[in-house]
Amino acid sequence: MNVAGRLPPFLRLLWLLGLLLALTIALAPLLWAIRNSLMTLEDTYKPLFIPFLQFMPTLETWSFELLEQSELSTALGRSLVVAFCHLLVVIPIGTLAGFALGRFRYRRPDNFNITLWFLSQRFLPPAVVIIPYLLMMRAACGPIALPFGLWLPQPLQLVCVLEGDRNLLNTLSAITLAHVTFNLPFVILIMRSIFAELPREIEEAAKVDGASDLQIFRKIALPLAVPGLVAATLITFAFSWNEFLFALILSGPDSQTLPLLIGSGEGVRSLDFPSVSVRALVAILPPVVLAVLTQQWIVRGLTLGAVKG
């Protein structure tokens, strides 16, 4: 979109500089991580910067982490599973709710209060709900869950069946469930805003033609909201991908996710900078890949030309 056609040369230069500056700042720490990943541990303490000129790069940490050890790839796989499964749940539920709050008018409680209620789920510091979560996951599939079964969501019961009805500790499901719960408010809030801003004319026209709310949602609103949906998906994916605290407490030997692996780069001996850098770089890849694949959809919405005239 061009606000007013091409810029005069001076402004264009400023624009270019601004962009370059932003890119440099955005990428600098990552370049630093790349530098560390190509060095030995002792060298990382030294002020050396340019590979081949100032130090000999080595691939030993990369090959160790990726080839000789299966820790990293396993944790990567687990984080992917958690993030994608959680998206499968949180995006549909959240988008539906977002549409409802952005389009329908509620009374008692009104839209504002319902939205605030969802948002308020993010207010409590996570540390304090860890213990109840641990208890919930431990009791999840056992007899003690029966009285809760009345109001525990059906998905939990389904998960129990999938996990063979033992408790949910040391499973990726527990982490996934926690992530869905925490990211739901984001999706709802973002999608609510997106849907609320959509022009009404097409919808009105469709209603006049007799479309149901669901059809309006699926066929009209959703396609128009794709940029926002993609943005919400990326952000939510990132949140699940990087989540540390619940993964720490709810995980066992079989369910260590990637942030835990990165966080464990600090031993009593030393912060193993090359190793942490390699892991951090590997960790950044899947979200970036996802962003690259979906970036074409964060474009201007489909033309609203149908509304003209």
Partner: protein
């Protein structure tokens, strides 16, 4: 006019005929919202009440059972300097970092919101910081801010000496804030960019009839249209920034001393190093109240309530 009305009535009749009678749940209003509501209730009510119960208990260490203490923990909160220090710092920190992030994010969105080659690539590259694991970022930060790290090397080259970032409370705070801003500006950028993209060109073309000045178009068209989205971004960021723990903890563990002790770090330490979970829970509810006040103040102050009230 009459045509519309007739069509409308016909349409409604057709719609009504198709839908089964469901009493209160006739409309989609309930069904669309129900899954989210059920999920949220199911997974957050128990933890909330449990945490509340915990806040009424006194913890006597890791191995021993809890003792009922009534409101003693809450009373203790009010006399504890640590609590108010952490709260004050967290509020200030959140306000400053979020303000900077919004401005920078908006700036970036405006920069990128034009046609040019490699636009997709640039957009993706600018998003990278968002995906960096905070824990890894904290560790990376330690080398970056170290005496022999790139920042100090650059500073020494320009000014003659570096800064011992972590050894001074204010420089440590700035160090943490810089990393925070680096990571979260793309969040604001992403949302605001999506918003900017949704503004139809026609509006600008229509406006071009009145003025050719870029700045006026920005001020009178773009920003007002973007206002709800900016509000949303500020709100989302604010709520998160108040709870921040990963970056300061990985970089400084809350130090030096208590300089970077955000409220979440205070709660985490109290709960899991001090094993004083009763007190930590009580502090969390204090925090909950504070956040509610802040959020409500923000919404009222910005007169966003009516904006959010809009349904159809």
């Amino acid at each position: 006019m009459s045509t519309a009305v007739t069509t409308g009535a016909e349409g409604r009749a057709r719609v009504a005929a198709r839908r089964p009678r469901l009493g209160r749940f006739r409309s989609a209003k309930a069904w669309f919202l129900l899954p989210a509501v059920i999920w949220t209730c199911g997974f957050t009510l128990f933890p909330l009440f449990y945490a509340l119960w915990l806040s009424l208990q006194q913890s006597r260490g890791m191995g021993r059972p809890l003792e009922f203490a009534g409101l003693k923990n809450y009373g203790r909160l009010f006399g504890d300097d640590r609590v108010w220090g952490a709260l004050g710092f967290t509020l200030g920190y959140a306000a400053v970092t979020v303000a900077i992030q919004i401005v920078l994010g908006l700036g970036l969105a405006l920069l990128v919101n034009r046609e040019f080659r490699l636009r997709g690539l640039v957009r993706t590259l600018l998003l990278l910081p968002l995906f960096a694991t905070p824990v890894g970022l904290g560790f990376l930060g330690r080398i970056i801010y170290a005496d022999a790290g790139p920042i100090n090397v650059a500073l020494t080259a320009i000014f003659g000496s570096g800064v011992p970032w972590m050894s001074n409370p204010w420089s440590a705070r700035i160090a943490v804030a810089l990393l925070d801003i680096w990571q979260w500006t793309p969040f604001c950028f992403l949302i605001l960019l999506a918003g900017l993209q949704s503004i139809p060109d026609e509006l600008y073309e229509a406006a071009r009839l009145d003025t050719n000045r870029r700045f006026e178009m920005l001020w009178h068209i773009t920003l007002p249209l973007l206002r709800p989205l900016i509000a949303l971004t500020v709100l989302l960021r604010l709520v998160e920034a108040l709870k921040i723990i990963d970056i300061p903890f990985a970089l400084t563990a809350g130090g030096p001393g208590r300089a970077n002790e955000t409220f979440s770090i205070f709660i985490y330490r109290t709960a899991f190093t001090g094993f004083d979970i009763g007190y930590a829970s009580a502090a969390s509810f204090l925090f909950l109240v504070v956040v509610l006040v802040v959020v409500n103040a923000f919404i009222l102050f910005g007169r966003f309530r009516t904006v959010w009230q809009a349904g159809d």
